[in-house]
Amino acid sequence: MKIAVCISQVPDTATRIKIGADHKSIDPSGVTFIINPYDEFAIEEALKIKEKIGGDSLVYVISVGDDSVKETLRKALAMGADEAILLKASNQKDSFGIAKALSEEIKNLGCELVFTGKQSVDFDSGITGQLIAEMLDYNCVSVVVEFKLDGNKIIAEREIEGGREIVETELPAVITAQKGLNEPRYASLKGIMAAKKKIILEKPAIDFNGFTEILNLHLPPSKQPGRILGTDKSAVPELVRLLREEAKVI
């Protein structure tokens, strides 16, 4: 079986965001880029499925972006993915545009099972997987914390408010990974060496950027530091009074 994993590259979560001069994107200077944390769970699950079903299964990792994304693709190869594809795009695409590019490539490759992170921790939309599924007319389960594949049949658990839904469906399908699905492996030295020799296939992404027009990227209004009411429990009655009378939240 051919399995695709769609990954993205994001600023490290410890990054302090600075607004770029165009007021439409961030200033990338000094920013460390990492693999989107949720995509690591997606890669791990794909590798586990490949190991389980064996045969001539292949895991493809695909990303949309510029040359800088190669480093992240290489990390996925080092974890054990078989082939990497970079869909090159210089223009900024919205989720719709990215999903369109990825779904075209998944169709070309003929992958029946697709994994991706439940969201990219940059734009945080959390919809790329569902968009891909709908574009390909595949089934989809999002925010998955348990995944079982038995022949064609899928039983997955997805996280929702206050609990988990058990979802049943079948291949072909897109699964979006939530933290808790598995423990992503570390790349072995052998894996890292092998990944250096692998070729990252580069192709132009389809020329469709989506429907979004960015007007302005800005920082949230900065908050005035509040009042320290005390250093022990004698401050508690005053805190409760303020929450009740000033903030009116309790």
Binding site: T13, T15, I17, I19, S95, F96, D122, F123, D124, S125, I127, Q130, L131, E134, N139, C140, V141, S142, V143, R158, E159, I160, E161, G162, G163, R164, E165, I166, V167, E168, T169, Q178, K179, G180, F211, T212, E213, I214, L215, L217, H218, L219, P220, K223, P225, G226, R227, I228, G230, T231, K233, A235, V236, P237, L239, V240, L243, A247, V249, I250
Partner: protein
């Protein structure tokens, strides 16, 4: 046929969720400004509180009904919502940004070839178009944008848009029976988690961090949450340490929340945590270290020992409530 704004409501176990009223109110508000009509749509089986919608100015509600659609099915729900939107000239669709909304709205967007913007915190009408503002990088920045497609979909963050009530008396409810729902993907069961309230939906959150010193001390957090009717949250450090479950995690790799009140206990305030909670309306910080970054975003702070302050706070609120 008049062009419409459609609020797609969410029901669980036969009741409309609170965020459904928020979506309805947003639809009415935008429709009034754009000179469109606002209607609501809900998919499900028996639903008990539909008449409450009249309070929010919705005059017409369509209930797409089938007994097998009480539980969510991405394939069936997206099919029937997209067909309804197409047949009825919906130009704008508003969904709640809930687990269901995030799964469902993008599928409807592809079927309608419409642009989609998730997790909006503000929707304004400017020059006869809708400008959406949403958080990016878990709230470290905000972005204003427009959609260029003919049909537009927005999802709204729960708890942010306060429903506005109007003096209206009735809502015209039309029930349509769904024929042969497409159940290719379907929810077959729901496993309720132990915690009572989810951080993503709660109006008050009491969160604990490494300063709680161990999982055995979280009963102090739970007791305060209990008296406040609040959800329990956690920092990444304590989730990574296995003290609490990931579903409670607030921050960039957990949930981004905007409750009315957020009480941070023993949380120093790493940047990825602050990103996830600093849009809360009021923030209280309890932490021994008076220089902890959490105090920079807190409205009220006590720079003291959580083990002394938490029980006192729980008692004080108990007194207030009795």
């Amino acid at each position: 046929m008049a062009e419409k704004i459609l609020a797609v409501l969410e029901q669980r176990e036969g009741s409309l969720k609170k965020v459904s009223f928020e979506a309805a109110s947003v639809a009415v508000n935008i429709a009034n400004q754009l000179g469109l009509s606002a209607e609501a749509l809900v998919v499900g089986s028996e639903i008990n509180n539909l008449s409450e919608l009249s309070k929010f100015g919705i005059s017409k509600l369509t209930h797409l009904r089938h007994e097998q659609l009480n539980n969510y099915s991405p394939t069936a729900y997206s099919d029937v919502i997209a067909s309804y939107a197409n047949e009825n000239g919906a130009k704008v669709l508003i969904f709640p940004n809930t687990a269901m909304g995030v799964d469902l709205a993008p599928r409807v967007a592809v079927k309608l070839n419409s642009g989609i913007m998730m997790d909006c915190m503000k929707l304004e009408v400017k020059d006869n178009d809708i400008v959406a503002t949403r958080p990016v990088y878990a709230g470290k920045a905000l972005i204003d944008l427009k959609l260029k497609s003919e049909i537009k979909i927005f999802t709204i963050r729960p708890n942010v848009f306060k429903p506005q009530t109007v003096n209206s008396t009735s809502v015209d409810i039309e029930v349509r029976t769904v024929e042969n729902p497409n159940l290719k993907t379907r929810v077959t069961a729901f496993k309720k988690s132990e915690g009572k309230l989810d951080v993503a939906e709660a109006d008050i959150i009491v969160s604990g961090g490494r300063g709680m010193k161990g999982p055995e001390n979280f009963h102090l957090i739970e007791e305060l949450a209990e008296v406040l009717g609040a959800a329990v949250g956690a920092s990444r450090a304590v989730v990574d340490a296995g003290w609490r479950q990931h579903r409670e995690q607030v921050g960039q790799t957990g949930k981004t929340v905007s409750p009315s009140l957020y009480i941070a206990c023993g949380i120093s305030g790493a940047i990825q945590h602050l990103a996830g909670m600093s849009s809360s309306k009021y923030i209280v910080a309890i932490n021994k270290d008076k220089d902890a970054p959490i105090f920079n975003v807190a409205d009220y702070g006590i720079a003291g020992d959580v083990f002394e302050i938490l029980p006192a706070l729980t008692d004080e609120i108990k007194k207030l409530k009795s």
